[in-house]
């Protein structure tokens, strides 16, 4: 009898713990949410809830893909609530998980945020599921919104990033090279020869900090540098070469040849220790220390004025005569999920394009504003140069983001082989043509 009682007790305990487990797991998710909410709303949660019910606006969930600005995003949410009474919950994905993977899981679990981040070529994946934001006030203040052929205006630009050949203006001035003159292959060649000859005098290791290592930096060569072939010299809305590429993987061989010659020059004048097996950290550190005159990254590689003791700027990849543009635009966008809280998202976007939000995003998060009426100057050392290109209209689009997903993993190897000397310029062109055509054929 005692035994039986014991077993009943034990079984009861087991059942109770099971039930407890079940309910706590449900609890944790809710408490998690409230916790993020409290985080975002700082101290005013109770007051906020009353305003919330009063204004009747449901909270909006935003999935942020930039972990480095998480704190600023939380501050943004707090400010939003303070000014409008609406609740914005910011969830940040980053580090090892990328947002698009996480979103797939969230979609399968029916746990979609109202606003999330996508890159331009991911719009097709979400076809028919994103809200059309056309006609909203903010769309009149920027030319950078993402427009999809089927879904309309879907993407809110939260930042603008630029890429070209970043330069160290002090070194160029010392060597007597005017960056404004670098708009033709010949000018580039002459500049490289001058700089290379004055290596010791300038105290540099090499002219270019260019790294074609494919394993960890494939995104740099395969997406960003390759993007110059697609866009350099073109107006922002000119889609000639990306259209050609997306038409079954065709390339313009003459243009690619010129591009290849230019990359060949970069290979020749690059630091051999960096070119083939370097890392992003070494590349950026070398540029910051003044070891390289040029770097093949964008404004994200030097974000704070404290990082560098010299003036930074951008020079175009002038692989054809007269190319004078840098690539500038939003690398990714915020979109509103059509089955989510679209009105809440729209209200947030309109507020976010305004002054107080831009203050946080520009001054605290170090982003560059895509809005015409933004009064804040970004702190980014590249901003001045970047802005001069944008205001003069000399910028091209980020159409490289519209290429077929994963293409960069193939093309980056061609850059690497070219850097190693396994391919010559013609070999680069023909291999590129074959690799791209094969990838599109799959």
């Amino acid at each position: 009898m005692k035994k039986k009682l014991m077993s009943v007790l034990l079984a009861g305990a087991m059942v109770a713990s099971l039930v407890a487990c079940g309910s706590t797991s449900a609890d944790t998710t809710t408490s998690d949410n409230t916790q993020t909410q409290t985080e975002s709303t700082t101290t005013e949660t109770p007051a906020a809830e009353t305003t919330d019910t009063a204004s009747g606006a449901a909270p909006v969930r935003l999935l942020n893909g930039k972990p480095e600005i998480n704190d600023q995003m939380q501050a943004l949410a707090a400010k939003y609530q303070e000014e409008t009474g609406n609740v914005l919950t910011v969830e940040t994905i980053g580090g090892d998980t990328n947002a698009s993977d996480e979103l797939k899981k969230m979609y399968q679990a029916d746990n979609m945020p109202d606003i999330f981040v996508i890159e331009a070529n991911q719009a097709a994946t979400w076809d028919g599921m994103l809200a059309d934001l056309s006609g909203e006030d903010w769309t009149n203040k920027t030319g950078f919104e993402l427009i999809d052929a089927n879904m309309g205006t879907i993407g809110f630009p939260y930042t603008v990033e630029a890429t070209a050949l970043g330069y160290n203006a002090d070194l160029l001035a010392k060597a007597g090279v005017d960056p404004a003159s670098l708009t033709s292959p010949d000018a580039w060649k002459a500049a490289c020869e001058t700089l290379d000859a004055k290596k010791d005098e300038l105290g540099i290791t090499a002219v270019f900090g260019w790294c074609a290592e494919p394993t960890n930096l494939g995104w740099s060569s395969g997406t960003h540098v390759f993007g110059q072939y697609l866009d350099a010299g073109l107006k922002a809305d000119d889609t000639t070469y990306i259209d050609l590429l997306n038409d079954g993987g065709k390339i313009d061989e003459a243009r690619m040849k010129n591009f290849a010659e230019f990359i060949g020059m970069m290979n020749q004048y690059s630091d051999p220790a960096l070119l083939i097996d370097g890392t992003y950290d070494n590349q950026v550190a070398g540029f910051k220390e003044g070891k390289y005159v040029f770097i093949t990254q964008g404004n994200w590689c030097v974000t704070s004025p404290d990082d560098v003791s010299f003036e930074c700027g951008f020079a175009p990849y002038a692989f054809e005569d007269g190319i004078n543009t840098i690539i500038a635009g939003p690398p990714s966008y915020w979109v509103a999920y059509a089955s989510g809280n679209v009105d809440g998202a729209k209200a947030f976007f309109n507020w976010c394009a305004g002054d107080s939000a831009q203050n946080i995003l520009v001054n605290d998060a170090g982003l560059v504003s895509p809005f015409d009426d933004c009064q804040y100057e970004a702190v980014n050392p590249f901003y001045k140069s970047m802005n001069s290109y944008i205001t003069a209209g000399n910028y091209s689009g980020w159409h490289t983001m519209l290429k077929k997903d994963g293409l960069q993993n193939s093309t980056c190897n061609v850059f690497a082989d070219y850097a190693k000397g396994k391919l010559d310029a013609d070999g680069f062109v023909s291999t590129m043509a074959q690799v791209i055509a094969d990838y599109y054929a799959q």
Partner: protein
């Protein structure tokens, strides 16, 4: 004349029926997405009630089987949920055009025909087989030699055993990054050229080296155990008969540890096939190679990594799933064949 009271019968049947109803209702609420807060409690309560009913079920003949079932259930349930159901779903997905988000239709066998038309995938299969062959031989050889060393009478035995086993405790990803640093910053100082990881052939060699370094210590431990189980009297008898060291090794020790060799080859074979983390961290599959007349950009990408890239990076989940099904079949066949062959040999020896 019944051995069970009416009360017990009633309790049993009522709990069984109520349990099933509650569990189904709870599941129904969840599937319908009503967000009813008590649906979890309903489901768990239902399942528990069902088991109480089952336990009290008025039977003497099947009571023992029922108890067995109740005790086995948690394990079977976990196995179903984590292995069997995903396997079936996965096979199902491979016949569709699922991209991770939506599925517009069933495409039949086209994913399977498409994957065999990709030279990059065929290269991955070939490379994986090469890797398996190299590894199965080299890991076992190195591990066996280390085991011989660690069962001999040298000084500092404990230190050597620990030192050889230690790499196995480091995760593959971390290991990959450490060795990436070694290959591109240390080895280059001696060779004077660029990193081994930059060329497909040398990068493949590099992966093999790292893998042996990681795995040989673990296999060594198993060999040590095997060598220690050889009865002392057999060795003594052979020594008296005048067998020298080589004869003892090849004619006594090796045949005696045949079962250990089976286990070790099996372990290295399957784990080499499933190689993923070192591959990902060390080269991420990069490297160029000319294969079937075309330039392939995934020169060091093995099967598991190829599946991952297809699904996650290229957003082609259905194709990745089809490749995974093939991977499963290959792995199953190879393992079964290998075990069969080894078992026969053990009997013969």
């Amino acid at each position: 004349m019944s051995t069970f009271s009416i009360g017990r019968k009633a309790v049993s049947f009522i709990s069984l029926i109520a349990g099933i109803v509650l569990a189904i209702a709870g599941l129904g609420l969840s599937i319908a997405g009503t967000g009813n807060a008590s649906r979890g409690a309903m489901l768990i309560g239902g399942v528990v009630l069902f088991f109480i009913g089952l336990y009290l079920f008025p039977t003497l003949k099947h009571h023992r089987s029922i108890i067995n079932f109740i005790f086995l259930f948690p394990l079977l349930f976990a196995f179903m949920v984590t292995v069997i159901i995903p396997l079936i779903l996965g096979i199902g997905y491979s016949f569709t055009d699922w991209n991770g988000i939506k599925m517009t239709g069933v495409v039949g066998l086209s994913n399977y025909t498409r994957m065999f038309k990709q030279p990059a995938f065929l290269w991955s299969i070939l490379l994986t087989f090469l890797f398996v062959v190299f590894n199965m031989i080299l890991v076992n050889l190195v591990a066996f030699l280390l085991a011989l060393l660690c069962t001999s009478k040298i000084k500092g035995l404990g230190f050597f055993r620990a030192a050889y086993f230690l790499p196995n405790l480091i995760g593959g990803i971390v290991l990959g990054y450490i060795w990436q640093f070694i290959f591109s910053n240390v080895v280059t100082k001696f060779t004077g050229t660029y990193s081994m990881l930059s060329d497909t052939n040398t990068a493949f060699l590099a992966i093999i080296i790292v893998y042996i370094w990681q795995y040989a210590g673990y296999i060594m431990l198993i060999y040590i155990t095997g060598l220690n189980t050889i009865p002392g009297d057999v060795l003594e008898a052979s020594a008296i008969d005048g067998a020298n060291k080589t004869q003892t090794l090849f004619n006594i020790k090796l045949p005696m540890i045949a079962p250990t060799i089976t286990i070790c080859t099996f372990l290295t074979l399957t784990s080499a096939f499933k190689q993923f983390d070192v591959n990902l961290a060390l080269t991420n599959g990069k490297g160029s190679v000319q294969f079937l007349g075309s330039y392939i950009a995934n020169g060091t990408e093995m099967l598991a990594l190829n599946i991952y890239t297809t699904a996650v990076i290229n957003n082609d989940y259905a194709l990745g799933q089809a490749k995974a099904v093939l991977f499963f079949i290959i792995l199953a066949v190879v393992s079964i064949v290998q075990v069969r062959i080894s078992n026969k040999k053990e009997v013969e020896l």
